[in-house]
Symmetry: C2
Subunit: 260 residues, 2 copies
DNA sequence: CAGTGGTCTAGACCACTGG
DNA sequence: CAGTGGTCTAGACCACTGC
């Protein structure tokens, strides 16, 4: 347990005063402590965390300070506030935005037609990480990797072809069967079955020409333009835990982005 | 001047009490009032807005309430806080992120080499809005439009070909000469010369094959895959003020996106 | 009705900037 | 040094949820 040092020592908080290195506001320290509990799995995705008053008592600070800490966690999408009910650990399941990281939308109609989306797993194999994948996943070359290849279809039209690489250590026991059996977002399965929660992601997008294999799987002509999307997804502490290389067919869909 | 109604009428704020329609927190009302002043140009981009205490006095509320209002404006990137100095109206100029809405990055090195970016204006003409463009810009078909076509080159390699459409009414007097003479971000020029500040934007992205003309201008083979980026940029109040249709060459650059 | 998050206030003090 | 935004507290009251 870290020592909380109140930078403005009015009524002097908590325990012994250690050397305060730079200057970190109290609410940032509280945020860090709550974050540690989230990582440690003290509260599971979907569960409520303690109320603001409880946390204020636990950390020996005012409710306002806890509030500001939680505000930031909510802004980072790590936690969801619900008035009158409590504050809950964010989850990829039961989120009315079914696919939080998927920016592909149909050209007409803002939403996907319910249930008309279908996943076909083509492959699921174990392998040793080549240098480039190892680097992106912060592993060493040769470490165990799991690769999954699948096609996503919307209204029976194959639209996305993607390869997913996961660190073997954290995803022991993942198989095509278990993946195929799961209903709902893949990231929700990672939470439930492997205790891995994806918190943010980074994508690199380019336009490429379909090679023969990609063309066949997506039922387009070889050489057709495809959107290449490389995504690295991170858990807590900016630890990369997944790499996806996907090819989106954008004849009837588009990638939508909001700029602020 | 709108009437401020304090939903929790402790010491009862300001003027006469009107019919409060739904329920809007005080700080939201304050935010709205500040927003109005921003729109009205009461403070210009880059200038400081009044201090928190001043605004608190002006609106007859506590500093904390003004603070929360400004916090949201800062979160929306409408305003920038600088400790010890003040709060400033956001601007596309003097923003260390030179191109706030441009997500294209070189594959190696996170930043563009300074000054190695070059703009070539190919065309600048007046026209009447066809139906599709009119709809996107919330105009009527036949309204005056200005179209600009240009190529952006990085390190002497033509990389972006884009068409820009602007409502003729708001951009009277825009010409290829004035555009060419301007140093710095185009959006900064819109602020300075036309008083139009772009606040947010929405992009639709797809992969397409280069046609003959695009290929020639970007010095690639016809049929090469290009990233098609359609952007609608908005001023205050979600009023669309610019449409761009751009084609990015992604052989040495990529579109980077952060997902939260 | 009790418990949760949400709003608002008033006041004290800190960190940073500039003259 | 005065003025700005930033932190922290304590307390009152409101809006929403569910028992």
């Amino acid at each position: 347990m870290a020592t909380i040092s109140n930078p403005h020592a009015d009524a002097a908080a908590a325990a012994a005063e250690a050397g305060t290195p730079a200057f970190s506001p109290l609410y940032q320290q509280i945020k860090g402590l709550i974050l540690q509990s989230l990582q440690a799995g003290e509260w599971k995705p979907g569960e409520a965390i303690p109320s603001e008053v409880d946390l204020a008592v636990r950390f020996r600070v005012s409710q306002g300070t806890v509030r500001k800490a939680i505000d930031e966690l909510a802004a980072d999408n790590l936690v969801v506030r619900r008035q009158g009910k409590g504050t809950f650990v964010a989850t990829h399941a039961e989120q009315h935005v079914q696919y939080r990281f998927l920016r592909l939308k149909p050209d007409s109609g803002d939403e996907f037609s319910e249930g008309a989306t279908q996943r076909t797993i083509l492959d699921c194999r174990r392998q040793r990480a080549p240098a480039d994948l190892a680097r992106l996943l912060a592993l060493r070359a040769g470490d165990a990797l799991i690769q999954v290849r699948r096609v996503l279809s919307f209204d029976d039209a194959p639209t996305i072809l993607e390869d997913i690489w996961l660190p073997g250590a954290a995803f022991k026991g993942l198989s095509a069967e278990r993946l195929g059996a799961w209903r709902g977002p893949t990231y929700a399965m990672f939470e439930n079955e492997f205790g891995v929660r994806m918190v943010r992601a980074q994508e690199k997008i380019r336009a490429v020409a379909a090679d023969a294999q990609q063309a066949a799987l997506l039922q387009v002509k070889p050489g057709s333009p495809l959107l290449s999307v490389e995504r690295v997804a991170f858990t807590y502490n900016d630890v990369p835990m997944e790499l996806r290389r996907a090819f989106y067919c954008t004849s009837t869909h588009h990638y939508r982005n909001e700029l602020n």
